[in-house]
Amino acid sequence: MNRIKRLSINSSLEAAKPMNRLWIDERYCKGCLICVDVCPTKALKASQEINAKGYILPIGNDMKRCKACGLCELMCPDFAIAIEEDEG
């Protein structure tokens, strides 16, 4: 399974929060934090405060570590995280 090239473009990217090559869409994210756990380089972590819906969202832990491997996007149950389209 090569690196997931054909990435899903979060068509409403403007609504999502950009985080250096990763977008998290707060409208869809339910704070299950599976992405934080599966990230091989621990680039993500859980934020401290809860949002209006009572969810604790993932935020960048150290986004330089992010290799755009796509595992977070693959394992996200809510299509709430997307990798920036790879121009290359």
Binding site: K30, I50, A52, K53, G54
Partner: protein, 198 residues
């Protein structure tokens, strides 16, 4: 209390005044539990008649959810709220949907964490209690309902004893969480009285 008591043909008081409470939020906030505890507390421990109904979507979490309690000395015919005396809004959608159904001068308790635009203060008696944050501090959002009940108590103390509410809570929460729920109740009440939880 809205006074509409009439004596019907058989000379029986068949429509007695009602105190109507509505709790609105989303699935997982304990909205249904709050309604059930209030209903039970009024009926079993205060000897009043009460009807508790609730409605929610199919979602177990996240969907809009409301619970209602109608309290009366006598018979309760129509089981739902007609014009609420008290609204507990734990989400913005809950507030927006039901604020228009609140009586003029009615009480509204909101959680500022999820309710951003607060209702009109000179039209309603508005109380803001960060129930989600207080619950979060002592163990998790699932204790939010006990915090809300604590925050509510001073507003209805003229109708119900604190012990009735406490009894209602301990009957309706998992036994191993009774202690934390009582702590949540205490903090909610203290915040409502003194504006701070600890």
């Amino acid at each position: 209390m809205s006074a509409q008591g009439i004596v019907d043909r058989e000379g029986r008081m068949s429509k007695t005044p009602r105190f109507e409470i509505r709790i609105a939020g989303f699935g997982g906030q304990g909205v249904v539990t709050i309604g059930r505890i209030l209903g039970e507390a009024f009926t079993i421990y205060e000897g009043k008649n009460s009807v508790n109904t609730h409605s929610y979507g199919p979602e177990s979490r996240g969907g809009a959810c409301k619970s209602e309690v109608v309290v009366s000395e006598g018979e309760i015919h129509y089981p739902n709220v007609r014009k609420a005396d008290l609204l507990i809004a734990l989400s913005q959608v809950g507030l927006d949907t039901y604020i228009s159904d609140l009586k003029e001068g009615g009480i509204v308790l909101v959680d500022p964490r999820s309710v951003k635009n607060v209702p009109d203060r000179d039209k309603y008696r508005v109380h803001e209690v960060p129930t989600m944050d207080i619950a979060h501090e002592i163990g998790g959002v699932k204790f939010q309902n006990s915090v809300a009940l604590g925050a509510l108590y001073p507003l209805i103390a003229h109708m119900i004893k604190e012990s009735s509410l406490r009894q209602g809570i301990s009957n309706n929460v998992p036994s191993e969480t009774v202690e934390i729920n009582m702590e949540a109740f205490k903090r909610g009440m203290r915040y409502a009285k003194e504006g701070k939880a600890e």
